[in-house]
Assembly symmetry: C2
């Protein structure tokens, strides 16, 4: 089962048929979750916030010492070509970068050749307001898997599974420092005492693209968000590159206000 659009993916510089697109089993992306990814919205005509996605990918690749062997222009052109298969409709582009193959063990290989691939996927966002439930899996701000959008995603996978078991749509993750951090694949914004706040990176938030745009536009500000503030927040939203800004209906069964004018205000940046 998959939700790919079209019959091809892009793999290490060439478009290849979907069934031929395979990775060596000793690629460290598979064996150690040693790589990065970006998930981008194809609007029907363009890759939304492409520059911001590529800035984040390059920063993280530098931090993890993974080479990124294509220019931004080349990646942008490739994504635009791949997205032609969407026929002018919205779709989701996933770009994956791995460290490449190496001998067994954790040590960074001297001679690894990174693998990079892109696929086009169905856009099918759920736009209903979200039921958030607090989960026991914590975000670890000291960890590369928390600081970067790496392929090591099992913690968030299981955090979402836990939330679904508890009847929620998504999980509210706290950090090991004890503060609210984010949902399993989205940033959190709360309206608290009239201010629109999002968790700081040091408290375990991912440096989300929409979050970054909202911060730059001055529409939200970073804060340390306590459990008490979560209980007192009048409204809340989740953001990521695919859902944009999605309202939160409940947090641990407490109903929040669905403030449409607040949501519209935040969604301004999606039009730019």
């Amino acid at each position: 089962m998959n939700d790919k659009i079209g019959a091809r993916v892009w793999l290490n510089g060439a478009f290849v048929g979907f069934d031929q697109a395979r990775m060596a089993i000793h690629d460290r992306g598979l064996s150690l979750g040693d790589g990065l990814f970006e998930t981008m919205l194809w609007t029907g005509t363009t890759t939304a916030f492409l520059d911001a996605h590529l800035v984040r990918l390059r920063r993280s690749a530098d931090a993890l010492k993974i080479a990124l062997p294509y220019s931004d222009a080349a990646i942008g052109a490739m994504l635009g070509e791949l997205a032609q298969d969407a026929g002018g409709q919205r779709a989701v582009l996933r770009l994956t970068l791995t460290r490449g193959s190496g001998p067994r063990g954790l040590a960074l290989p001297d001679d690894a050749e990174p693998s990079i691939m892109a696929s086009l996927n169905t856009y099918r966002p759920n736009t209903l307001p979200v039921k958030l439930v607090r989960v026991s899996v914590l975000r670890n701000p000291s960890a590369p898997s928390c600081q970067h959008k790496t392929l090591s995603y099992i913690d968030n996978v299981m955090a979402l599974a836990q939330a679904r078991e508890q009847g929620g749509d998504d999980g509210l993750m706290y950090s090991t420092h004890g503060y609210a951090a984010c949902a399993t694949a989205a940033n959190l914004i709360i309206k608290y005492r009239g201010k629109s706040l999002t968790s700081s990176l040091g408290d375990g938030a991912m440096a989300g693209i929409i979050r970054g745009q909202l911060l730059s536009a001055g529409l939200i500000e970073e804060a340390t968000i306590t459990a008490h503030m979560i209980e007192e927040a009048s409204c809340a939203a989740l953001t990521n590159a695919i859902i944009g800004v999605r309202a939160v209906q409940t947090i641990d069964a407490r109903a929040l206000v669905l403030d449409q004018s607040w949501l519209l205000d935040l969604r301004q940046i999606l039009q730019s």
Copy 2:
């Protein structure tokens, strides 16, 4: 670059040529680090501690809700056949289980078919005493990536890279609770006030196979290990299924005693 032995791997029930052994790029093992692995020592005649490895793998697969579609006997027979390529020499068997393919996103697919593969790799342990240095990446006991041997290994990969940059052979990882947990791919044992202690799982230790054997044999005991105890320890060792028991030479440049009789005592369980 790889260090595979032989011309074949085992993939989903069949031996296939190494160059044909490839994974779909939408397999969640690759896209989300959503899977598990075991690294086992082939002694030349048998898979050391096979039962313990398979007990751990099954427990973790259950916890992560990944099906394991082969019996222990079938896996054991397959590993024994694969290891014939080692020609009676020591080698390393790696068994990898992924959740399989699914649509984009974190939600557990209803219809995922797990992938399982095994490869045979060169045995080339470094037996010199280890220089350990404390690293800033912390173990997160709340996280599935800490509780299970998952494919989401980037945190330990980068912890080792940090240790190497600091001139160490391996990194001493503390947990988010503030206690010593383990090295990047090995458990830690310290001799402290005459007792042989290893970090408890709740303090971020992985449930290592050699660690488990040593506990069962009563040769070590679990404890919460503080930074002060690390400073006061007279000697220390690292353990995992491949290195067995390896002496620690220094921790953050403080020299430890190389107590050969203590090490021999611990290594008893490797002969069983």
